[in-house]
Symmetry: C2
Subunit: 535 residues, 2 copies
Amino acid sequence: MQGLARTNMVTGKNYIGNQLSAKGNKTFQTFNPVLNKENSPVFTEATSEEIEEAVHLASEAFKEFGQISGDKKAAFLDAIADEILALDDLLVQMYCSETGLPEGRAKGERGRTVGQLRSFAVLVKEGSWVAATIDTGDANREPQPKPDLRKLNVPLGPVVVFGASNFPLAYSTAGGDTAAALAAGCPVIVKSHPMHTGTGELVASAIHKAALKTNMPNGVFSNLNSSGIEVGQILVSTAGVKAVGFTGSIKGGRALYDLAAKREEPIPVFAEMGSINPVILLPKALENRAESIAKTYAGSITLATGQFCTNPGLILGIKSDGLTSFIDTLSNEIVTVNPTVMLHPNIKEGYLKNKEKVVSQGGVSVTANYSGVLQDNCAEQAIVSVKGEDFLKNTMLHLEVFGPFSMVVQCEDEKQLAAIISNLEGQLTGTIIADNTELEAHGNIVGALQNRVGRIIFNGVPTGVEVCESMVHGGPYPASTDSRFTAVGVGSIKRWVRPFSYQDWPNSLLPDALKNENPLGIYRTVDGNNSKGKI
Amino acid sequence: MQGLARTNMVTGKNYIGNQLSAKGNKTFQTFNPVLNKENSPVFTEATSEEIEEAVHLASEAFKEFGQISGDKKAAFLDAIADEILALDDLLVQMYCSETGLPEGRAKGERGRTVGQLRSFAVLVKEGSWVAATIDTGDANREPQPKPDLRKLNVPLGPVVVFGASNFPLAYSTAGGDTAAALAAGCPVIVKSHPMHTGTGELVASAIHKAALKTNMPNGVFSNLNSSGIEVGQILVSTAGVKAVGFTGSIKGGRALYDLAAKREEPIPVFAEMGSINPVILLPKALENRAESIAKTYAGSITLATGQFCTNPGLILGIKSDGLTSFIDTLSNEIVTVNPTVMLHPNIKEGYLKNKEKVVSQGGVSVTANYSGVLQDNCAEQAIVSVKGEDFLKNTMLHLEVFGPFSMVVQCEDEKQLAAIISNLEGQLTGTIIADNTELEAHGNIVGALQNRVGRIIFNGVPTGVEVCESMVHGGPYPASTDSRFTAVGVGSIKRWVRPFSYQDWPNSLLPDALKNENPLGIYRTVDGNNSKGKI
């Protein structure tokens, strides 16, 4: 139990494997946006020596952790979930104090985080996720004997995870990236988020306890504090790191992607970045129910002060009475919502700056902007409107305004609408609001939208990312740096594994997943047939 | 039939979709290394205008080709295979004249190429490769209704393929990258290889005929000639291109990777690059059968003049009488092999240059170098030997010498052997030669090797890449730019697809793979269960 913090108090230190460590001089505090003051814990930024040690320990831990059984990994993941729940109110309070988000949201996100960990535990315990395939040999084949080949997924090695500002639990320290990487057999080093470092340390303490309880090798997990970008830059550039997971801004994600691509050994970076999540309003839907759609969207745009990566920031329709009525209702509705705090004064500042940038572009008119009294760090929600031709020629209008904001584009006709969609950057989601009868008639719109997004939604809102295998949370650049993967759902484990093949290997020395006897009882593809059987 | 060449003659022109085109002024010829003279056809390099047109046509074709049924894609792939076979002797002769490789190799590689196309046809006809998953909704779930989510793999868009010098058929114009991309639904633009441009044009004519016969959209395939690197650079930088497949040198592959990473929209590059394919000789195997191992390896090292990416360029053993005997026998055997021509004078020149670079390093002794009379463009095979400590401290010795060459490293002990393996760059393959009883005792060696390779072989040779689902042809950088994929086997289709998710989409408008009725009768994961059933 050496080096183990036996208390739930926040220490402000880094977890370098099992060791609490604070060798540096640079300190910082997090901020409570509701109280409009700094929180009391003082965090010490990780030094380059500590970073190196964390990567070294992770590389050493990988030798063991990369090979352990699914049962043991499952026990570890379940123990993390248990320890997070055991933090109870301490975690919820810390979460709220560092984000301004309400207790209900904290508990909901905790549930999601624990649920993700447990679903990966189920996945690796069952075991078929390794995608074992076996092609048996044939010594008598002419002209050459056919070798025996057996393939399975193996972990890449140490993964660095950068948490998101807007999801301190579900997309951070023990969030989807971490859960998937640990499930794969990759040690994880978290670059803790500077806005919720206390929440991060508490979750790190839970992972640390779980690792000790389930006898994981030292270095399977580390948690590094930092207030700026330097710790992350060093981490991504360090040779022992084999992959990176990131959730955040385009600027941040792209910078890490560029760093990783420049390495002597380039490594994969899966960054889930910004998105304006276009919503297409088709004519009949507008004609029949413009007002109810507007009311639904007033809620979606302001949910959690608009601080979701799936927030609907762009609404597209063809000029009509219905669209005018939609804009009017949306504008009227949205100012009735009580403004709420943003995560941090810097986020609020970014919101105002980006909103101002967009509003100052030619042709943009503000149709709603909350003008009541604002508490500190609260954001005034706004709706703006612009003509299709102005949007088409000015990519500044494609800017993500992170916050309770949306832009309605009034297109001349369907052709212009299709052109706008085709010219959009890649998006996490696209939504089509339509009457049942009209969707089929707008195949070109649907086709254009599919080409730009990772997930397409019919008559709903993009906010709310269901955690299940069929979810794609990702999409063409810049929604993500690699559209071939998703950040949500157990399939996200594929980001951290590579296929590995054994040729003519002795049966007794093969990993269990590939042995003739199929001791794990998993599904395998044997000579082209899917089977749980023996060979 | 406009623009269609109705003859099998080589025209020297580019295929810009269905159009034969030669707008440029830059021309070049290929070379016959056996006759030591240029081949007669004159090829015209593609212009930037032609490149742009090819990408434009591919982007347009994608709108249709990205959506067509598996049956239609299968018919196209099978037709390509048929048309390649119909080229008959014309193709075989052109292949031999442009590579110096023997007729038997040409026919064998043609069989492999046709086999790959047909196996992808089977895959897409059957249809389950799209990995359809369905999570049905639940309107009554609390606190929020559960949406209906359905996911499948969709193609990325136009793919650019760079063929390999050493596989004019199986890894070139209609090789594995092209077959996988077309199977996925991605239009393909081939940057034809300057050393076998005639072979490339003939295969392109076969693809072109197959596309017309099976009514594929114009632009589904283009073939661009070039003698230098400029055409490829422009292609990879063009916005409409969505992914790149490459087989060749580290220098070439890395340059394309860097270009793609620098784009405003970065795109995935799967480059299969060089490898020295380490072979580990364990002590007992050396003690019991050093000579027979040496004889086998003399054959593997000189196979096809050593021009395989899986050529065993590095052999590692611990100092012993057995290792000495191995080196002696290998050295004696290899000089009895009749030297054969290399693919091109430039390849021969590269062989001599790289061999000289390695031989001139400290501690390297040449134990065999063919010294008989050499025909033009033939390569003298060679074996060199070096001490483990010299190899460890000098990464110049890790250089791939593409050709009939191998280096034997004599390690002091097992610890040094393990250190050398751990410090190797990523490799396509690693081979362990061992007696059955000793493998288990050397787990650290095996573990270190697994960490550096894509495929591990027991008591065999790395040359010979079986085409089957369990094959991994790829590996940690620089064996490939992304170890998460393989270039061989139907699983290689994953390089060119992304998951896409439909939320609450009307059943009748879903792609067939996701409809309740399962009209394609494919395997799907429905609410966690694998099934061919309806919902």
